[in-house]
Amino acid sequence: MIRWLALRAALFLAFAFLLAPVCIVIIVSFNGGPVLSFPPTHFTTHWYALIKPEFFAALNVSLIVAGATALLSVALGLPAALALSRGRFPGRDGLNSILLSPLVVPALVTGVALYQFSLTFWDFTNLALGGTLIGLIIGHLTFGIPFSVRAILAGHARFDYALEEAALNLGATPLQTFWRVTVPILRPSIVAGGIFAFVMSLDDVPIALFMGGGDATTLPVRIFTTVEFDFGGEVMAIAALIVGGSVLLMLVLDRLIGLDCLFGARR
């Protein structure tokens, strides 16, 4: 009995710990007094009104970069995933390892490496990669591609090759079979890969910090640099809005796909 209570208490504390920062953000964003203090003194929404327009511009940049990253990750990831699961070619195991690399390379190291590389690139070609949307997208592809590949590989694990044979037998060329049969059947994992890439791109700080700049600043980086210098109430309001947006996104995803499917939690 005591053991049961102890476990319950531990669980409650653990879940409270997990949710605390998110909940507090929303509560405090309405605080009329100093935003870093608790308890809130009085209720106000004026922080929301004080949000500067550059944050919305940054949100725009984030969305564009995330969308492009997702699309490119999937487009480049799909052939690689198919090759890894079906092909037997020299270097296959090596490629498999390379594509696991995001776990190995810290995001910060990728960020500074790309920054350094963009300087070298500038030296040689006079083309700027840093501070451009393209640079940001390239930076985010470093984790977007591997995660798409892994998502599609996971979805491909139980692929029924008889379906492709049936299509070939019915007269479809390999290319037609690919578009009419293979892709539709893999669609859930392709979409999952795209969503992972999208969400990770929206969230990234280290890479976007070093590859972005000026007009090409993503929302997390804009918030990051703001918080470094001045922690005003409007930052809390922005954070609360992001929480709201994320919850909305989660509800939408759950409706469309079912979040438990996405995370493989269903046994």
């Binding site: 029924d160 008889a162 379906l163 044979e165 049936a166 299509a167 070939l168 037998n169 019915l170 007269g171 479809a172 060329t173 390999p174 037609q176 079979t177 009419r180 049969v181 539709p184 059947i185 669609r187």
Partner: protein, 356 residues
């Protein structure tokens, strides 16, 4: 409706030879079954005709054309897979439509043909459902409809009924046969179930270890197997050793058991060329053995046991030289008791000789 020929076809997978030197002719409109246990090469032959496996040696000719080098999507064969392979993301109608869409047939003709195909398999009402909503038997029929709607030159069926329960299997065997004879499509069917093979086919090719051991009509295959393997694989057979003693008129020989009893029988010889003094096997089906005398061949045996299978009852008996006999008991006939010594008799035309 074309003929299909495998000419000296061989298939190796590395060291393993799956198909050895096969010559097979399936005539236009004929229903031929490849029968054999797992690993005998029957599915490999089918897949070579479909184009999913390339033969190591030999040619495949269909309707006069050498198709050996053609990719599967240019061969115009219709295949029904063991797992049906219905596209889960398409409705039943769209599944059946697939081959027609790829051939760029005009919409009106597509719709007409799809309707006919679904009517043929009695699934018109299911056109807008998805494969996941259908039962196993229904999915099988959709797979069949999809394969025939493209009007292939040859229909290939890869153990299509293996996943179904016996009752459903019987129904679908009749269905498939009906559709095949209506459409008169050249058909090659693969199965390990001999009952299926015998009931549906014009000819059956029994395969063993990559070779065709015997190919004949079901009756000939059953009544005159050419080897111990075929005799045992298709139905039950009584087999025991004998020696040829005398050649008689009318294609008969007199044979004798080797032991002390020197029991003598007359047997029909078909293709087997035997010399006097040669050892071979005498074979007879249990249903051709009778209790009591009255026929030319007789032998004494002691009853050792009985097996009841509902519609059939077998009695196991042992001969004086240790041979085992299985006798099928007629309905209404009394069953001899355990330990009883009985006389078993059969007609010469009902038994056959096999090489040892």
């Amino acid at each position: 409706m074309s003929e299909v020929r495998l000419e000296k076809v061989e298939k190796r997978f590395g060291e393993h030879v799956a198909v050895r030197d096969i010559d097979l002719l399936v005539r236009p409109g004929e229903f031929v079954t490849l029968l054999g246990p797992s690993g005998c090469g029957k599915t490999t032959c089918l897949r070579m005709i479909a184009g999913f496996v390339a033969p190591t040696r030999g040619r495949i000719v269909m309707g006069g054309r050498d198709i050996t080098a053609l990719p599967p999507y240019r061969r115009n064969t219709g295949m029904v897979f063991q797992s049906y392979a219905l596209f889960p993301h398409r409705t039943i109608a769209d599944n059946v439509a697939f081959g027609l869409q790829v051939r760029r047939l005009p919409r009106a003709e597509c719709d007409a043909r799809i309707k006919d195909a679904l009517c043929l398999v009695h699934l018109e009402r299911f056109a807008d459902r998805y494969p996941g909503q259908l039962s196993g038997g229904q999915r099988q029929r959709v797979a069949l409809a999809r394969a025939v709607v493209i009007r292939p030159e040859v229909l290939l069926l890869d153990e299509p009924l293996a996943a179904l329960d016996p009752k459903l299997r019987e129904e679908l065997q009749v269905e498939i046969k009906r559709i095949q004879s209506t459409l008169k499509i050249t058909t090659l069917f693969v199965t390990h179930d001999q009952g299926e093979a015998l009931s549906m086919s014009d000819r059956v090719a029994v395969m063993h270890d990559g070779r065709i051991v015997q190919i004949d009509s079901p009756e000939v295959l059953y009544e005159r197997p050419n080897s111990r393997y075929v005799a045992n694989f298709v139905g039950r057979t009584n087999l025991f050793n004998v020696v040829v003693r005398e050649k008689l008129d009318g294609g008969m020989v007199r044979v004798e058991t080797e032991g002390a009893s020197k029991a003598s029988f007359i047997a029909a010889v078909t293709d087997l060329k035997v010399d006097v003094g040669a050892r071979c096997l005498l074979g007879a089906r249990p249903e051709h053995f009778h209790f009591g005398g009255g026929r030319a061949n007789t032998i004494q045996a002691k009853v050792r046991g009985a097996t009841y299978l509902g519609s059939i009852r077998y009695v196991d008996a042992e001969g004086s030289e240790g041979q085992s006999f299985a006798v099928q008991v007629r309905p209404g006939e009394p069953t001899p008791s355990l330990g009883e010594v009985v006389v078993i008799s059969w007609r010469p035309e009902s038994c056959f000789l096999l090489r040892e």
